[in-house]
Structure formats: structure tokens, C-alpha cells
Subunit: 421 residues, 2 copies
């Protein structure tokens, strides 16, 4: 067990505080540090002005072993991070001619002129090392003093992320600030609420002193993490506890670690050489997009149809017009017809369909906004299911996708043993 | 101009620091406060342990007018926020029997048993008011003392968001802590880099003293916000400056405010009663999903086809098999055939197609990973375009979507005047 290093992340930018951009730096850096056994002590988001940066950096530097800053290294005039932090560290800013060269070459390659503000990115504090940035003009900064480390990274995620993984993590591991292994065991569940889950599992947890359990609920799924922050429980024992939980959870157990619902389904389909096709009305391509986010999706995903209007349901899926007239496009009958048709047209073993009222308009007395019909065509038969979700259009879309995927997952598990569902 | 109130947001939860959940609270709360004229002073994310919460809350309470906390109000055992903060404020925790009733009713409605840990959510600090939570069991807390306000909200976004908009914002406006109007003018651009943008617009900005300009780049688009934090420039003058920028930007101007690329395109198509259909290979439904995120998408979006494998390109779009064999599925020829076919099959005026290698596998010497062909069928002809994006599968997918949408937007602008593109 490592002595836990104290790491703080300072994310700079008014666009974060104004909610114009998501703080993906916290998600990315937090996850990667967590994997290597260190929980971020704190993340502070502040605007990009010199006084605030100075105050926050001084405080974080005092109470941490590592301070990582993101943003504020770009060429435009609201970026003063570099200057302010160098001042607090008592360093001069030095011009780095190699960085100047890199910047000029990069602009040349893209056929854009180098504006003078771009050359401000070639300055860095004396005594610091430059962290190469293969995807942008602003290099990062690595500064080591008195056993403490300052890492400064540029804001664009596609620049920051490879720099963090390829240059920062290995150096922190080498210095003994991070371990190589995973620090916690995560269990993912689906279809069970947070408090029911706690009530179910508490008897297992009660048998282990110094076991730390943290829950996290999101869009109808609950994850929990097992760790032992005092280090009394070994990794393999945490894993054994997780296996006990898995057995008790039965079908509500989704997977261990960071596996996603689509990955679980995809692994199952690929292992059994089965094909899946989807027909989406209200979710408008979101299910297809989830599956095609996986590399190699073409191995099991035969295609998708976004039949948003009635005409496309008739034209692309041969759903009979009279069926839509009699039962409505949001109906069990339509869902079943869509699932069967998409499986047939795209030569898939399983066909999944969604039709519903995502809101804010639409809906009727029988099927108000939030009503979703899911259709599932399988080699053993066709079913349909009706669910109602409260919430905004986006919430309804995402919960409908998760519910449909979870249903497919459960059916696949049961078909696997050749038993009827 | 209001005296700027100092507002800090404390987001609680190890799942945020471990990168398991995105900090959507910052995005949501920051945006809503920003619209009402107040920039968040700071956002601090910390783990859910009593000592850390106590330390951070005491510090934030001392230097702010309003402290908002999110999370830590749920039923499971790592939620100690309520107790810790009551202790720092020197208040007792009181049992709220009406909340108990609401919790019990809610569980009954969903047919789930009330576990004892759920009733912990019915406690709140003496002197505080309860903020109703229509979508969950944990109510929020509103506490006012000595001109300062503490707002505590539950963690799940679908519970927090309506509570913040319906209960918190109006009370803060009423107390004069927030203004009703918008505090800044935002201009969105597409297709121009951050430093080129600054170089283009700086002459305009130089003519205005006390004008604050902040840039924000994301996935190939750059936004900038004009404000006058000293209050010397009136709102209508900021708007006039934005109009000057718009005129100089020409086609690179996307829109004012928070309008999205898909909304710009949708507005145009709806106003001109035009239909759009999409055929997606590498982006796997993401374009369709973007359009169907808009309420009323069926007014212009006739449908989408996710033809991930070659078989689906042939089966659903009648792309000739010999064309795919001769040129490959990732080719200008395939993109053009897909765009034309989807427009025809789904009876749309415009057909947009994407085919490419999103990575990490696939690609060849001629068209390496990251190569995307976009096809565009219009009433005036069919074009195709080849672009290469560096980055991960997800980055390539998102940049390809943005590039395709921006191309469609530019073509629509030019067709609008009945001129050839």
C-alpha cells in the first residue's frame, strides 16, 4: 500500500463555471488517477483571472503533493495562468525556442498564418520541463521542487488526454506517487434501486471491518465500489466480496469494473455469433450510436433504422399503414412489427425497437408523454413492453435506451441456457 | 447593474472525483446562474466524508453570499452531508413528518418497500425550509441567516434540475441576488480556429474600453462571450458589437446565444419546408440522434439509416455491390450513392451521408484511420468531401458529425438565395 499522495486538480475557465463546456478534465484525470490507486483530493474550478488563480494555486500547492492545472495556456488574451503561477513559484518565464519552432511548423502544415499571440505559448517557468503536445500548439509544463510536483496542461481534451496518459501518469508512477494496479473493485448493477441494493447487500458488508462502500446511481443503474482506505482488506479479498454480491444480485448484476451495458450485450452476441438490428422512433438513433461506439461493432451490429415519422416506418420497415392507423405509431403492435421487420430486413437474430412519446409534445390520455413501447424480436418469439418515464425529453430518451438494453441483456442471459424466458 | 453576489458550488461525491460520473451539476447550475447575471465564483468537488465537507463548507460559507451543495442527501450510508453542515451552522437536526409521509407515498406508488435508511432523508437543520422534490425522495434544504443563503440539493440530475429552476432561481431573483436578464452576449462560430478568430475580431474589440471577451473552443467550433464586468457597456451596446462581429464573420457565424448547429439547420429546413434524411456508417446514428434531440424533429427529419456493414448498404440503400467492391465502402463514390439513395427512399430534399474509418482498426494506405467521406445530396446536385481527423474513435465520430453538419449548414445558406453553391 502506498502512502496516499494528495493530488488537487485546478480546472480553469469561465466557460466551465458558466456551464458552456462540460468539465471532462475532472472525469478523465479523476478516472486515471483512481485506477492507479489515488483518489483526487479535490477539484477546484475557477475563472481565468490572475488574482483568483494566484490565491487558489497558493492554497492548493501548500496542501498537496501534486497540483495539476488545466486550461489557461492557449493563445488568446484571457490566458494568464502561466505568468501568475511562475510569479508565485518565484521563477522567471523563459522563451523556449524549440517550442516556437514546433508552433511555426504546425501552422505551416495546416496552411494557417502564425499570429503573434501564438508565440506566447513558447514561454515557460525557469527550471520547468516541457511536456510535448503532439496535437496542439501549447506544450504542457512539468515542474518539480521540494518533493512536490506541478503539472500544467492545455485545455482542449484531445490535447490534454494523450499528454496525461503518455507523459504524466508514467512519470508519477516512476516517482512512486501512483501505484500500477487498480485500487478499488467496482460492481455494476441494473434494474435495482439504490436503497433496495443497500438493504440486499448490507449483510455481506457487515461481516467485513474497514470495508468502504460507495454507491453511485445514474439513469436507472447503480454502481458500487468496494475499497479499504485503511488498507486492511487485500485486493483479492475485495474481489471475493464482489463475487458474493454478484451471486446474490443474480440478473441485476451487470458486470465488474467499467464494463458498459452495450459491451456486455456485444460480448454476448459476438461470443455466440448472433446479430442485432435496431429500429428506433423516439430514441432517434441513440441505441445505434451506443453500439457503434464500440470498435468492431460490425461483427454483431447489422444496422439500424431511424423511422421517426410514420412514412419511414411504412417505407423502410413495411409496417402496414392500417396497423399504424388502428393502433397508433406508439403502441405494442407497432413496436412488435418494427422489431420483427428490422430483424428480417437486416438479417439479424435479434431485433430491438423503440417507439414512444419523448415529449415535450405528443402523447394522449392512454399513453401520456414519457410512454415508451419496446419491441424485442428473438429466435424464440416476439415480445413488447410498455414503460413510462418521468422527466425531460433527454431524460426520457436515455432512460428508454437503458431500459431497452437491459431487457435485451436479460433475455440474452436466459436464452443462453436454452431455457425459455 | 447588481452588486455581484458571490456564489460557490460544492459538488459532493467520490464518483465525481473518480471520473465515474460527469459533473453535470456544474454545467447546469453554472449556466442558469450565468443567464441571470451571476458568474459562479468557484466550484469545489470533494469526497463525501464528514471532515472534508466540514472544512470546505466552513471556508466557502465564510467567503460567499450563497453556498449551493449537491449530493450527499441520499439514503445510503456514505451520505453525511446533512449532519455535518447542521453541526457547523450550530443547528439541531429536526425530523420532518410531512417528508416522511411523502417518502412513504412515493415508495407505495412504485410498489417498493420503504427501507429504514430512506427515512434518514426526512431530517433537516432547525430553521431551514424544505425544498420540495417532485421526482425523488430526498427533499432539498433552504437555509437563510445573516443575509447568507445555503441551498442543499440532492444529487440525481433529474431531481436537482427542476428543483433548481422552479424553486431556487425564483427565490434568489426575488431576494435581489440574481437579475432577471441575460448578463452577457454569446456569439457562436464554426469553421474558424481560435487564434484566427481573435486576430480577425481584435480590431473591433480594441475600439471598446472595458469590454471583456472570453473564448471557448470545442470539437471544431469556437464560441466567444462579450461582457462588461465593470458594467460600463450597456447590454444593447454589447449586442451591437456582436452584430459587427457577425457581419465580419460571414459564413463562419453560426448564431447568437446558445443555439446549436442542429437547431440552426432545423430552423432553416422548417422555415423552407424542406426535408432531411441521413445515412450513417461510421457515425452510427449520432447525426440522427442529434436531430431527434430537437422537439418536433418529425417536421423536417424524415428518417435515418445506420448502414454499418456493407450488407445493410446494399439491402437498405440499394448501393450497388459492384460500387462497394470497386471503390470500397469508404470512398467518395459510396458517400454519394448513400446520400442520394437515402434522400430518395425517405422522400427528402437533402440527404446527408457519412462513411469512414473511425478507428482504432480499419483504414488503409490511401485512407488511413480518421478518414471520413461526407456525401450531400441536394436539389441542385450531389457532392462529396473527404476529411481526415486525428484522435480517438469518439473524437473522430464527433468531429465528423460537426463537419458534416457545418457543410450542410453552409450549403443551405447559399441555396437559400437561389444561387448556386
Amino acid at each position: 500500500m502506498l502512502t496516499q499522495k494528495r493530488i488537487e486538480l485546478i480546472t480553469l475557465g469561465e466557460e466551465l463555471l458558466l456551464g458552456l463546456t462540460e468539465n471532462t478534465h475532472l472525469t478523465f484525470i479523476g478516472e486515471h488517477l483512481g485506477r492507479h490507486g489515488v483518489y483526487l483530493q479535490r477539484n477546484i474550478t475557477i475563472p481565468d483571472d490572475a488574482e483568483t488563480i494566484g490565491r487558489q494555486f497558493a492554497e492548493s500547492w501548500e496542501r498537496s503533493d501534486v497540483v495539476v492545472t488545466t486550461g489557461g495556456l492557449g493563445p488568446t488574451c484571457d490566458d494568464r495562468t502561466r505568468e501568475t503561477i511562475a510569479e508565485i513559484l518565484g521563477c522567471e518565464l523563459i522563451f523556449h525556442s524549440e517550442t516556437e519552432k514546433t508552433i511555426k511548423e504546425r501552422f505551416e502544415r495546416f496552411g494557417r498564418p502564425v499570429t503573434p499571440n501564438n508565440l506566447r505559448q513558447a514561454y515557460y517557468p525557469e527550471g520547468a520541463e516541457v511536456i510535448a503536445n503532439p496535437n496542439g500548439t501549447a506544450p504542457g509544463i512539468w515542474f518539480f521542487r521540494d518533493g512536490k510536483i506541478l503539472v500544467m496542461l492545455p485545455g482542449p481534451p484531445n490535447e490534454l488526454q494523450p499528454m496525461f496518459v503518455d507523459s504524466v501518469i508514467p512519470r508519477l508512477v516512476e516517482l512512486g506517487f501512483l501505484s500500477a494496479g487498480e485500487a478499488y473493485v467496482q460492481v455494476k448493477t441494473a434494474g435495482i434501486g439504490e436503497s433496495a441494493l443497500e438493504t440486499l447487500l448490507q449483510p455481506i458488508f457487515d461481516r467485513h471491518e474497514h470495508l468502504d462502500v460507495a454507491y453511485c446511481a445514474h439513469a436507472g443503474q447503480v454502481d458500487f465500489r468496494l475499497s479499504s482506505q485503511k488498507g486492511n482488506i487485500k485486493k483479492e479479498d475485495l474481489e471475493a466480496i464482489a463475487v458474493e454480491c454478484r451471486d446474490l444480485l443474480e440478473d441485476d448484476f451487470l458486470g465488474m469494473g467499467r464494463i458498459s451495458m452495450v459491451k456486455v450485450i456485444s460480448d454476448y452476441l459476438r461470443a455466440n455469433e448472433l446479430g442485432l438490428a435496431v429500429a428506433e422512433s423516439c430514441t432517434g438513433g441513440l441505441v445505434a450510436s451506443c453500439f457503434t461506439d464500440l470498435p468492431g461493432a460490425s461483427k454483431f451490429f447489422t444496422g439500424g433504422i431511424v423511422c421517426y415519422g410514420n412514412a419511414s416506418k411504412v417505407e423502410l420497415l413495411d409496417v402496414p399503414e392500417c396497423l399504424l392507423k388502428q393502433h397508433g405509431a406508439v403502441s405494442a403492435e407497432a413496436a412488435v412489427a418494427m422489431a420483427a421487420a428490422v430483424a428480417e430486413r437486416l438479417d439479424a437474430d435479434y431485433g430491438l425497437s423503440l417507439t414512444g412519446f419523448a415529449g415535450p409534445c405528443g402523447g394522449n390520455a392512454e399513453n401520456p408523454v414519457g410512454t415508451i413501447f419496446i419491441g424485442l424480436h428473438t429466435p424464440k418469439g416476439i415480445w413488447s413492453k410498455r414503460i413510462n418515464f418521468p422527466g425531460s425529453r433527454s431524460v426520457v430518451k436515455h432512460r428508454a435506451v437503458n431500459a431497452a438494453l437491459d431487457w435485451l441483456r436479460r433475455v440474452l442471459i436466459h436464452h443462453g441456457g436454452n431455457g425459455a424466458y
